[in-house]
């Protein structure tokens, strides 16, 4: 019934990075991807925090999956995830307070990132620890890549800088919308357009058929007709 095949460890890792990228392909975890990616630094901090939570939770869930009863598994996953989120929240606040302030409530909201719970339920709870870590690291890296793409686009257009370093002269005209929350949607639109174009390019172009698309047939009409 269910298709079974061998998945190599490399594939477990890399599919999350690119082919099944959580944000760009699966469109999961969009809330932080849209909300806090207005600068590269914010994107990186959010990406790293999520990476840490994801890898930590997957490791624990895969390790203790035998001891977690089926009936309460979601509660247990949430408990594990929430613990890691709180730790990430405290550490960010202590180490990089400015970025913590900029990210605001979105650090705490990592706990409801469906991508993380999804990896626990779909992968970590069914797989050996090593593979679960690989999967979580790949997905987490894919999340970081996506956030950096969005953060880069938004910071370059919105502030004219990259990681705070001005790229253009003083006459640069900032795209104000890119810093605002709405800019997240536009940046995601840009990136999805490029991805769609990339995917389409590899396919054979479909030639539209011209109307009428019927068949031509020859009918022999004898003298005296049918009637």
């Amino acid at each position: 019934m269910s298709p079974r095949r061998v998945v190599s460890p490399e594939e477990v890792f890399f599919r999350g990075v690119w082919r099944e990228n959580p944000v760009l392909i699966q469109l999961l975890g969009l809330c932080p991807a849209l909300a806090v990616t207005n600068t590269v630094a914010n994107s990186l901090a959010m990406g790293l925090a999520t990476f840490f939570v994801l890898v930590g939770s997957s490791t624990l869930v895969a390790t203790f999956k035998r001891f977690i009863p089926r009936e309460v598994r979601i509660s247990a996953y949430i408990l594990v995830i929430a613990t890691f989120v709180t730790i990430a929240d405290l550490v960010l606040n202590a180490v990089v307070p400015e970025i913590h302030r900029a990210l605001g409530a979105f650090i705490a909201l990592i706990v409801v990132n469906c991508m993380i719970l999804g990896r626990q339920e779909a992968f970590a709870s069914k797989q050996p620890v090593g593979r679960a870590i690989l999967d979580a690291a790949g997905t987490g890296l894919g999340f970081i890549v996506a956030l950096l793409m969005m953060g880069g686009l938004r910071e370059v257009l919105g502030y004219g800088s990259f990681l705070g370093v001005p790229l253009f002269g003083p006459s640069f005209e900032p795209w104000i919308v890119m810093i605002l929350p709405a800019g997240g949607f536009f940046a995601l639109g840009f990136i999805l357009l490029l991805f769609g174009w990339w995917a389409e390019r590899k396919k054979e172009p479909v030639r539209p058929r011209r109307w009428p698309h019927g068949v031509t047939t020859e009918v022999f009409v004898g003298e005296g007709g049918a009637d």
Partner: protein, 334 residues
């Protein structure tokens, strides 16, 4: 014995001469006088802005589109319409960006012609408005010579417009809202006012729109319901406080209302499919436009009202499905 050649096809067997390209290019034809009026009032700046926006749209469609879709003319229309809604003095690189956004994010990312939720030209304009609020609200003042540029059109890409180049004026709606100065009705009809390149000459837009309505290339219910709603609501407000709120005539012929009602709201893809739905759609746009103009923070709100009602179109379609003849039951579109 004769041999007859027949072509066997699936139905429909009877078709009119209208096709998507034919309709689209007819719309382009009716836009020619509008573009002419824009160039008459705003000189070379108007021509440059409209051309650049169109080039932006067409290039984007060619690069990112599925191929072979340039011929249907829809990208060109989007470009011309976008150009008509931009201020004449806007840097050309912004007009190009607007064209890219309109086609790329307004249409292609949704899956191409027929799939988009929002009017592409207005989506492009909405992003420009949100990204460059200063440049998008810098309106030209009267100039001495027709051939003068109306602003820093040639600002280098990604750089700001030089504010000393443009003599800034105010649109009739802006003057009314912030200074309570009304504008002569004749100027509003003919377009001798400040504003976006193609929105000022109300009479020309009206003529093109009526032609398209007669040819049934647009559903007349949409513009009529928009204009009626605006007229009634603004006249009521005018009776309540004549000093603060302008009358119906001013509201109808100022700003982007004519262009929006005849050319933007009637976009076949983003307007309702049922006639009842068109009335609701138009009334919604008209009511929101009046609300924003009279009580909102902005002097003009036609663009946002159309985009907002675009988002409601699937629901309007669903709510206004006709009854199946003879059964008395409502068909619920699924």
């Amino acid at each position: 014995m004769d041999v007859h050649r027949f072509e066997l096809t699936a139905s429909p067997h009877i078709k009119g001469p209208d096709s998507t390209p034919r309709i689209m290019w007819s719309v382009v034809a009716t836009l020619v006088p509008v573009v002419g009026a824009a160039i008459y009032w705003f000189g070379p700046s108007a021509a440059l802005v409209i051309t650049t926006a169109t080039v932006g749209c067409v290039v984007t469609e060619r690069l990112f589109g599925p191929g072979g879709t340039l011929r249907d003319g829809s990208a060109a229309i989007t470009g011309v319409l976008l150009g008509l809604t931009l201020p004449p003095g806007i840097p050309l690189w912004m007009a190009f960006v607007g064209g890219f956004i309109a086609i790329g994010l307004g249409k292609l990312v949704f899956g191409g012609l027929g799939q988009n939720v929002f009017n592409p030209a207005l989506l492009g304009r909405a992003l420009l408005q949100a990204a460059f609020p200063d440049d998008m609200t810098t309106w030209p003042a009267a100039v001495e010579h027709w051939w003068q540029l109306r602003g820093d059109n040639f600002a280098l890409p990604l750089t700001s417009a030089d504010p000393t180049v443009a003599l800034t004026g105010a649109t009739p709606l802006g003057q009314m809202k912030f200074e309570q100065i009304p504008t002569e009705a004749v100027d509003l009809f003919m377009g001798a006012t400040s504003g976006s390149t193609g929105e000022t000459a109300a009479v020309v837009i009206l003529a093109g729109g009526i032609y398209l309505a007669v040819k049934k290339y647009l559903n007349w219910r949409i513009p009529i319901s928009i204009l009626l709603t605006v007229a009634v609501l603004s006249q009521v407000a005018h009776f309540v406080d004549p000093d603060r709120y302008p009358g119906a005539l001013f509201m109808l012929f100022s700003g982007g209302l004519m262009l929006g009602a005849w050319y933007m709201a009637t976009d076949m893809v983003t307007s309702p499919t049922t006639n009842h739905g068109c009335w609701i759609f138009g009334a919604g746009i008209g009511a929101m436009a009046v609300l924003i103009r009279l009580w909102g923070g902005l002097p003009e709100g036609v663009m946002y009202s159309i985009l907002f009602m675009n988002a409601l179109v699937p629901f309007i379609n669903r709510a206004t499905q006709p009854r199946v003849f003879g059964t008395g039951e409502e068909v619920v579109a699924s």
